[in-house]
Symmetry: C2
Subunit: 190 residues, 2 copies
Amino acid sequence: MTTAVKPRKKQIEQVATNLFKTKGYSATSMRDIAASVGIEAASIYSHINSKEEILHSICFRMANEFLTSINEVLNANDSIIEKFRKTVVAHVDIITGDVAASAVFWNEWRHLSEPALSEFIAMQRQYENTFKSIIEQGVNEGLFEVPSVSFAVMAMLSSLNGIQKWRNYTLPPNELNTAFADIFIKGLLK
Amino acid sequence: MTTAVKPRKKQIEQVATNLFKTKGYSATSMRDIAASVGIEAASIYSHINSKEEILHSICFRMANEFLTSINEVLNANDSIIEKFRKTVVAHVDIITGDVAASAVFWNEWRHLSEPALSEFIAMQRQYENTFKSIIEQGVNEGLFEVPSVSFAVMAMLSSLNGIQKWRNYTLPPNELNTAFADIFIKGLLK
DNA sequence: CCTACCGATCGGTAGG
DNA sequence: CCTACCGATCGGTAGG
């Protein structure tokens, strides 16, 4: 029986992700990460170049996942309500699929330095704007009624992204995604 | 014309709150705070005992505000929908009333050490449970329909608490509070 | 409120 | 992947 050995680099990133989530990026030292992996701090640098490189990798991987997912939904041939539902479900699935990485993505990106910081913020805005265009279309079709489209997007995203702070999921992931879709579709309907 | 001079201690706390919000508690040094106030780092200690004391003060002040507010609503003689509405409005008002302190309350409390940490978590739970009891009563009266009361509370609170991360309010505070109440009442109604 | 300073810890490097 | 170590910075104190 062979044991699947996780490549060190992946292991370091995973351990770091969990520590970044629990303690925060700044409060997590390279020695914390090394100790969790079971090696010396200096040895980490055989696999990665800096602490920020790990943060960069997590933040941009998640940002790409979110953007890829919303673009797929956008290109499908669905009603606007269905597009909205699919976007919410996909967003929740990405979060529950990797809660630790989502927490880092949402809470620790501010510790990126330029130019990565600006790039990351631009990706965030792009995602928000795509989501906004979906709600906007729902309003234009007379299906949704909102006091402000920006408000609706931000209220939604804050709610979904908050999952990573929950002490428990309250519902299993495959019910959580549709529960979110339902509550917000109802909330936005005219 | 006399200029109202802010007592040093209050000034230090306010400056620290803003820095904790922007950079995070761990990444904010006493020297950062001192520089923003315009004094030397060592001079801070004439007014406060430790960095954590500032965090403690912010977190517990906000926790008490939230708990006081929800208990007032609970004791009023209103319909359950009205209680729900008032709770949401009050919650949003507290956040928009001090966004920086709310951000610290929501994002930095994990850096408290025991026994304050456990006390703080208990207060959070108490608030969530009170909110939960309001929704539960709405369900019992046949007004609300939710897949899980815990889910509804957490989805709500995540959404409201997310305000502190918004790049802009999307709506002025006196419309934001009722917009939140409306969207979630609609979302929870049977 | 300042100067001067403490021990601890940080991210990271040299060299093997 | 390790030992040994670097300069910088941390929260905080002594003493005025």
